[in-house]
Symmetry: C2
Subunit: 336 residues, 2 copies
Amino acid sequence: MAVIVPFESPSGASIDGLVGLVAADMERVNATILSRTGSDVTMIPEVANHLISSGGKRLRPMLTLAMAHLTEYSGDGHVKLAAAVEFMHTATLLHDDVVDESEMRRGKLSARMLWGNEASVLVGDFLLGQAFRMMVEVGSLRALDILSAAAATIAEGEVMQLAAAKNTATTEDEYLAVIRGKTAELFAAACEVGPVLADRPKAEQTASRSFGMNLGIAFQLVDDVLDYGGKAAKLGKNVGDDFREGKITLPVVLAFRRGSDSERAFWIKSLERGEINDSDLDHAIGLMNKHRALEDTISRAHHYGAMAVDALALFPASPMKTALEQVVAFCLARSH
Amino acid sequence: MAVIVPFESPSGASIDGLVGLVAADMERVNATILSRTGSDVTMIPEVANHLISSGGKRLRPMLTLAMAHLTEYSGDGHVKLAAAVEFMHTATLLHDDVVDESEMRRGKLSARMLWGNEASVLVGDFLLGQAFRMMVEVGSLRALDILSAAAATIAEGEVMQLAAAKNTATTEDEYLAVIRGKTAELFAAACEVGPVLADRPKAEQTASRSFGMNLGIAFQLVDDVLDYGGKAAKLGKNVGDDFREGKITLPVVLAFRRGSDSERAFWIKSLERGEINDSDLDHAIGLMNKHRALEDTISRAHHYGAMAVDALALFPASPMKTALEQVVAFCLARSH
């Protein structure tokens, strides 16, 4: 069921370069994360660490560190901002699990299955509060502005998704607006604060933001595809989750638009009305393959990946720049 | 079923003085609230305004304005900070309703009953993000520090309450730690940022914080009493909600400690195991009356109210100071 798409240069599609270049800083980020989830209220570190230590790649905080390096920032603030970005991400995951009623996250039972919705909501709030405290400690009002705007935009994107939920008439543009908000905005903010801390020219800040935004869109589109044919074990979620939850993603948008009346009736029945039987997921994937919906979603992802790479063009060649280009390739290659 | 307690000076127990003195600023706060709940995602203003315009007293933002006046702040920042405080409060209410599975809030169906848990979680997140954006716009890192620390502490208090939930062995000290976090901290922060903006001496900042903290504790204790015998219509919630939810509040803590073995068995059965029949609420109130648990909770509230008034002592006499003293009396007099 894996999706096979042509991918030009699978060599160099790796995050290893990035991981190596930010390793020393990441150790400090991890120590910060550990200390800032501490609380006398033992349920807080339990819930937070269940998710934080469950083997996420920590791509977002690595991006903050990377862009700070790329723009030759020499201070300390990027470590706390990177930890804050990871906290914002973790808070979003905790709240998402409640919203989506998810049972699994990263191959483990989700926090809400273990501690309940209540703890997921409240520990998420705690982490958001801690994230803002760390940002305040760094003391850059510009960085605070970027990250607090991102927090509002992320929530707005999630509400947008909720409003569009189960609506098969969602357009590709509407769907893009949703994922810009709910996913790409945090990538963009995580990247933008690096050159902001380094007090680099506006053009470099904008370029960094653009890199993050387009990488984030590509990342989400590939995620959408993986949900219909990916390596579930590796992802830690089940193939078909989006389908069962009636989530409208780009593969659905494309298959619906390109489908016949009877096919559209199938999408409406399963996604809008939630009437799903055992063979329906296979049927859905069959329709997506028939209309090249998964392949074309990957093509769209490559488009945004290319924009991300181009956004980096104004930075001179460096090992970090190469590593960031490889991260784009890695995110796209996950679909293999 | 109303609780009758001696109250020394019911005259002057009013928020009218405060309301009058901050009226002009409150208009600007209300306009700010309205504009900052705006979003192209129509569900956001719908959900937010359902709660924000449902007739809360807006006591917390009024306190921010009042303390800014009292300390002769001459700028504009207090308006945005007051709106941010109200957003933080509203976000907490939205998330609380999900955590408590509440059906009513301020006499109306709760947002989660009308739009679902998902919308309540996400719109809460959006309001928190907008609150931080406004704080950033004001540009005071000290105020940001105070309010972001409050956000983390509030969530911590809520998790603490969750962990103590249904545990009849909770001590009075443990319960005080919970309400310091979940309720009083926001009162404290709302008051503290006034003199911080005005750049007043540390002693005035601490006094303002102390006023808010003790007022907040008194406020919560009276709320706890009202839940066992208050004016439900006025409160907009039902008498006995805390009891039915197995919430441990000070009246329960006192009645449990002072009760016989068979009475303790009753509290454990109803609050820890949730086995409640129609006559149990009356029985619970009977036990509380027998042990003076409601009266003594009110006495405790008066103790914190007195501390709040004393905290104001270092400020010279002024109409605003008198109005703030009357607010304390008002909060206590709600129990009549």
